[in-house]
């Protein structure tokens, strides 16, 4: 189920909220777990069993690790192999087979497609954070299967993050206090995310689609198109994270921020501190630092960085372009670390921002054209158009002009401008409540109107 759907907003959420607050506190985790499984099963009725199996396996692994100090390494290894094995099988088997087939001895491997279970990349990483932390002694073992299941499958962040580490949630699983301030904060965050998703990301996606498939968009059309996609993916994903955090608040959970205005970054290093923060910290904590981080000399640091970034790329999908996309950022980060940052520091802010944005947007070109979207041939075609300096067709111009106000709104919302105005000029003033209520009502009506009318409502990060 997606948050920005009528089913979620007008059926699932009211029913779950009502029961959650009616039943006694001690049953709330059990009820949430049931709701989570329904939420997941709604879109993935068969593979919900796969997630259930993951939960049970890692629950047992956690207990075994804590009980048996001498064999804990082996237990951890087994659990990680199972977790990554499932991820590899469901996400990468087809891709690996496709590439092996090119090599002669494997030419006979038949072609197959395995359906990707929704959110598997997210919940696998969450689960692994638990077993690894138990192994390291960074967190207590969880003996209550229901509480553990609630953590893994918690519907707000189940299918598209943020990737919440077990130790950050553990205290809330036992003793969280829901209250009205937190609930209203949750409502605001949820609506902010909903607006980003429905009012910005969806129409920006339509713009990108229509320019991408236009007969002759020209350089300008292609450029505006990839700009629209850059905004779409940001509002789509950060909107989802906001909704997740808001929903968490409504049920008494507090999750860390996942996006912090990434498009105002002044370097790629900064961009990755602001974009999908929970994924970056996960990789740093569970891959980069265990590999030795930057403590083993310059060469190893570079190698470690490149490994982490290739994995980050691959995490996004089983396709070569994602690997390249990761490598692309890995290389830029290495360059920035070795000398570029020092040069950038001397340049004016504006230039640093333009530098970062250009690299980010070019990155999205690489990112968009996965095998599903036409792969390298389509990528080549697009890049050719982008740098062809050919004029845009009248259709492309018409599309761009139609979406210009939306692009402008998207550009403004990519910066903290509105937030600053809100905090400086509105918050705490007399009109604040009125302004908030009016925006709340507007978002509810406009988003419902859009959901009722529109068929276009994909979640980009569902694929991951």
């Amino acid at each position: 189920m997606v948050f920005s759907s009528l089913m979620f907003m007008y059926v699932f959420l009211p029913v779950v909220l009502a029961f959650y607050y009616i039943i006694p506190k001690k049953f709330r985790n059990l009820f949430l777990l049931a709701a989570d499984l329904f939420f997941y099963g709604w879109g993935e009725p068969v593979l919900v069993s796969l997630m259930a199996a993951s939960i049970v396996i890692n629950y047992i692994a956690g207990i075994l690790i804590s009980k048996n100090q001498s064999r804990k390494k082996a237990v951890l290894a087994v659990s990680i192999i199972i977790d990554l094995g499932m991820l590899a099988f469901f996400k990468y088997a087809g891709f690996i087979a496709d590439n092996l087939r090119i090599i002669l001895p494997f030419a006979a491997i038949p072609s197959f497609t395995i359906p990707l279970p929704i959110g598997i990349s997210f919940y696998t990483f969450q689960i692994m954070s638990y077993t690894i932390d138990v192994y390291r002694g960074d967190t207590e073992v969880q003996r209550n299967l229901i509480d553990f299941g609630t953590y893994v499958s918690l519907f707000p962040q189940l299918i598209a993050g943020p990737i919440v580490k077990y130790r950050d949630v553990a205290p809330m699983l036992k003793g969280r206090r829901e209250n009205i301030e937190m609930f209203s904060k949750g409502v605001k965050l949820f609506l902010l995310g909903l607006a980003k998703k429905v009012l910005l990301a969806n129409p920006l996606g339509l713009m990108w689609d229509s320019l991408r498939t236009a007969d002759s968009p020209g350089s300008f059309g292609a450029f505006m198109g990839i700009l629209a996609f850059s905004m779409q993916i940001y509002f789509d994903f950060s909107g989802y994270s906001d909704m997740a955090r808001g929903l968490g608040n409504m049920f008494g959970f507090e999750f860390f921020i996942n996006f912090d205005y990434p498009y105002i970054s002044q370097s790629i290093t900064e961009f990755w501190r602001r974009w999908h923060i929970s994924l970056g910290t996960w990789f740093r904590e569970y891959v980069y630092i265990p590999l030795g981080g930057n403590r083993k000399g310059k060469v190893r640091t570079v190698i470690n960085l490149l490994i982490v970034w290739m994995l980050t790329g691959l995490w996004h999908g089983a396709s070569w372009n994602f690997l390249l996309w990761g490598l692309y950022f890995g290389i830029i980060l290495v360059l920035e670390k070795t000398f570029l940052l020092k040069i950038l520091d001397k340049l004016p802010k504006a230039i640093r921002r333009v530098y970062s944005l250009i690299l980010i947007v070019l990155g999205w070109v690489l990112f968009y054209f996965s095998d599903d979207a036409g792969g390298f041939p389509a990528l080549g075609e697009f890049v050719k158009t982008l740098f062809s300096f050919s004029p845009a067709s009248s259709f492309a111009i018409h599309t761009i002009v139609s979406y210009l106000p939306l692009m402008a709104a998207g550009a403004v919302c990519s910066t903290p401008l509105i937030r600053r105005i809100y905090e400086k000029r509105i918050k705490g003033r007399k009109l604040c409540s009125a302004a908030e209520i009016v925006s709340e009502a507007a978002v509810l009506v406009l988003c419902t109107a859009s959901l009722v009318s529109a068929e276009y409502n994909p979640f980009l990060y569902f694929k991951f």
Partner: protein, 381 residues
């Protein structure tokens, strides 16, 4: 400080209550409001509740259908749909649904896509006319937007109808067999505001009458005059441009029916739809005027085959057409004792066989320019 805290609490309560009231009201209305089968505004059947079965759940079909069901049965759906339309409009995305909201209450469809089948369809008609011995008439109706460009919003796509009509004129100018009734001068260059409905993509009876006048002049027949007709007017027509765009503040059109003073529009009409055959003794199906799509008053709307027997003479005309013909055919029935009208979107029999069987004397192609440019159904074997 305490007062401030208190204030914050009140505002938190208000924000939460509004949100909860909204989603709970929605939830309850979904459950208790009666479900609708048909939307008058959008002129389409609405989704009903999907049936629950393991196979439909397993394939994910159930959850998809359920979301469609919710979307279609949303309380105050028409309100939300039109809010969305006007919001798009305010954002500068006029035409997002495929229809522009224009000046003076006009709703105008975007021009058809440029990548088209025009050449192929033209060749199909040319090849056909070369094979047959019968006289052929071709009428191509331009799109609404080509006539009323001055009302279009500033940022709108260009209409190319004139180009296509000129191509047809060049093609058939010297042809002995094909009589191309060129509507270009009369339609594209006229200031007449009544040739098309403001809220529907079809032409009005006025538009069809003008085409009929040109038809008669071209055939050397007596020029028809408006005073030869009784004109009935029916208000309250919201056409398809209205339904697809949901710009619901637009005013409705009126439908005019021209009945020939001589015979009062009476003719024997046979509608064939598969094996179902319905007969009527009037070309105007006035009971259709109570429905949403009032354009179906003309020969009952889209059907595979419609036969009109006026009996004015022994001449028999075959019309191969799209829906523009529905409004024109009643006029043509004054010149042809019998008309057989087929729609190739539904009719897949052989045309030459039909001509032979029915002993056809003349053939007329009546199409909108957009159909000629886009249709994949025109096949004349």
């Amino acid at each position: 400080m305490n007062e401030k805290k208190q204030k914050g609490r009140i505002s938190a309560v208000i924000i939460s209550v509004i949100f909860l009231a909204f989603i709970f009201a929605g939830c309850l209305l979904y459950v208790f409001l009666p479900k609708k089968d048909y939307s008058e505004t959008e002129k389409r059947y609405l989704a009903s509740a999907p049936s629950l079965s393991w196979s439909s759940v397993k394939s994910g079909e159930f959850s998809e259908d359920f979301e469609k069901f919710l979307a279609d049965q949303t309380p105050f759906r028409s309100f939300f749909v039109s809010v969305n339309s006007y919001f798009e409009y305010l954002k500068g995305n006029n035409g997002s649904s495929g229809v522009y909201l224009c000046k003076n209450g006009w709703l105008i469809e975007k021009p058809f896509d440029e990548s088209n089948r025009f050449d192929k369809n033209l060749k199909e008609i040319k090849d056909f006319t070369e094979k047959t011995n019968l006289p052929v008439t071709l009428i191509a109706v331009p799109e609404k937007g080509a006539l009323y460009e001055k009302y279009l919003p500033k940022n709108s796509l260009k209409f190319e109808d004139e180009k296509y009509i000129n191509t047809l004129a060049d093609e058939f100018e010297k042809s002995e067999k094909v009589d191309f009734i060129n509507l270009g001068d009369s339609f594209l260059k006229s200031e007449n505001e009544t040739y098309f409905y403001k809220t529907d993509h079809h032409w009005t009876s006025d538009g069809a009458f003008e085409a009929y006048r040109l038809f008669c002049l071209s055939k050397g027949l007596k020029e028809p005059k408006e005073c030869d007709y009784n004109v009935e007017t029916y208000p309250g027509f919201y056409g398809t441009s209205y339904s697809t765009s949901c710009y619901t503040l637009t005013k409705p059109d009126e439908v005019k029916i021209y009945t020939c003073k001589e015979n009062g529009g009476k003719a024997k009409v046979t509608v064939t739809e598969g094996k179902k055959v319905t007969e009527s003794d009037d070309m105007f199906f006035r009971n259709r005027l109570d429905e949403g799509d009032k354009y179906t008053v003309f020969l009952d709307g889209n059907h595979t085959r419609v036969d009109v027997k006026s009996g004015v003479n022994g001449k028999k005309l075959l019309i191969i057409k799209d829906s523009f013909a529905h409004c024109l055919a009643p006029f043509l029935a004054e010149q042809y004792g019998e008309i057989v009208m087929i729609d190739q979107r539904y009719y897949n029999g052989s045309v030459s066989k039909l001509i032979e069987e029915e002993k056809i004397d003349e053939i007329a192609f009546i199409y909108g320019v957009n159909t000629l440019a886009e249709s994949r159904d025109i096949s004349l074997y």
